[in-house]
């Protein structure tokens, strides 16, 4: 070999290598999973779209697959109608940024919930996202396609074992999550969601959706604010609340909710993805019905009944139970 050519060939291959690595590095460096998820939080509020989604929810012992049609209109309007299974068929929800109204079409059943599009709800989601950044390792997997659209694929693995993990597929153009899967620490699917159809830039006159709702003047029936902080709670109830002193690492208080006309206090803790719910009520309240599949811990202490629901290892549940004071 000509001695002069060796360094040239070497230089060439080095050059190619640098370009390639630089190229791939730049395409990965171009956007971080953290950024993608942060954009994604705002995405739904900046889009008009119509789509059909399938949600699968797995409780040990029962699983549901629900098909819903969804319509979102800027900035904070959502309308959903359940298409399947047939026993949920005429369930609709309408969210106008202030309240989320749930209604069974053709009946007089309707319930009010706080809006999931309100600034308050957004704050909570943001808080959860920050928790995720602390408690999860984010990594970008190979890009893919959903419904013909290029998507980022992000995996979230918990830093502390015993917690659920998540995989999410996010549309590159709009940052809307198009598919999501959650698995518990054993690797079993907890919930899955994906769009089977989606059309962007569809506008609808919002009035048309209000027509489906009962013509009775819609009185805002609920007077209790959800998303209560512990401080709010103390002001609303007259009996002392028992709080778990031990929380699995990464879990923080999310909200308190009053159920059953203020007789039951429920505290929710989250690590960003997983959720722990501790409910407490005076012991003279009878529990009727049966658990569909969550296998909670139920116990009595000092005249109160506790119910603890979470998808975490049993020892953790027991530790929490023992720490409730």
């Amino acid at each position: 070999m000509n001695p002069g050519k060796v360094p040239q060939k070497l230089l060439q291959s080095l050059f190619v290598l640098i370009i390639l690595s630089g190229g791939t590095a730049s395409s990965l460096l171009a956007i971080e999973p953290k950024e993608i998820l942060t954009h994604s939080l705002e995405a739904q509020f900046q889009l008009d779209f119509e789509g059909i989604q399938k949600t699968e929810s797995r409780l040990p012992g029962r699983s549901y697959t629900i098909t819903t049609s969804v319509i979102r209109q800027k900035p904070d309007f959502t309308y959903t109608a359940t298409l399947a299974p047939s026993r949920f068929k005429r369930w609709i929800t309408l969210d106008d940024g202030e309240f989320r109204i749930w209604h069974i079409q053709g009946s007089n059943e309707f319930k009010f919930f706080p809006s999931a599009n309100s600034p308050e709800a957004k704050k909570i989601k943001k808080k959860s996202l920050n928790l995720i950044f602390n408690n999860y390792k984010l990594s970008r997997l190979l890009d893919s396609y959903i419904l013909g659209r290029p998507v980022y694929v992000i995996s979230l693995i918990p830093r502390h074992p015993g917690n659920p993990r998540r995989k999410v597929w996010i549309d590159k153009k709009t940052y809307l999550p198009l598919k999501e899967e959650d698995y518990n620490w054993k690797g079993k699917l907890i919930s899955a969601f994906h769009y089977t159809k989606i059309h962007f830039d569809r506008r609808f006159p919002k009035k048309k959706f209000y027509r489906d709702l009962p013509r009775r003047p819609l009185k805002k029936i609920f007077s209790q604010k959800r998303f209560l902080s512990l401080k709010d709670l103390k002001g609303k109830i007259r009996f002392p609340i028992f709080i778990p002193r031990y929380r699995p690492p990464g879990y923080e208080f999310q909200e308190a909710v009053l159920l059953a006309k203020g007789r039951v206090v429920e505290l929710t803790y989250t690590n960003g993805i997983g959720v722990i719910c501790l409910s407490q009520m005076p012991s003279n309240i009878k529990l009727k019905g049966y658990f569909e599949g969550t296998h909670p811990l139920v116990w009595r202490k000092r005249g109160r009944t506790f119910v603890l629901i979470a998808n975490i290892p049993r020892e953790q549940l027991i530790k929490i139970k023992q720490s409730v004071k």
């Binding site: 994604s40 939080l41 929810s57 629900i66 959650d182 429920e266 989250t270 309240i285 009878k286 009727k288």
Partner: protein, 154 residues
Amino acid sequence: MSCKKWKKKLSSYLDNEVSYRERLKIEKHLKSCPACFNEFKQLERVHRLVQSIQPEKPRPGFYERLSERLSQEKLTLREKLVGWRYSWQLSFPRVGKIAVAISAVMLLSVSFYIWRSSISYEVNIKVFEEEYLRSQQMNSFVGELALPVFFEIK
């Protein structure tokens, strides 16, 4: 289907209480049957006439008059109680009165206790599961996760 059967459905159709399929069938029939169409038009006319009736209002001061009647009722009730006490004071011997008083108090306290403990509230377990699922949903990245809750509606 004979016109008689179609005509029976016209009232529900007018009230918009027929299924979507039924409605289409009825509309189709109305287009082709002048007799039924005519009858439907008459039903509509009746409906419009009734709707155009001005709602009647009570004379002003309705609540005030009601309030008066209410307080009169309360008064007669009180009078009844007072009258009972008065006649009771007159008719019973002393010892008897004390005995009656004591047993009345005992009876009241027992029944109060029974009433208190019988007020047991019931909470359906589904409430807890629903809340758990709802909290889980809050943490999804997806805005509109469908909820498999409200399994059975009363």
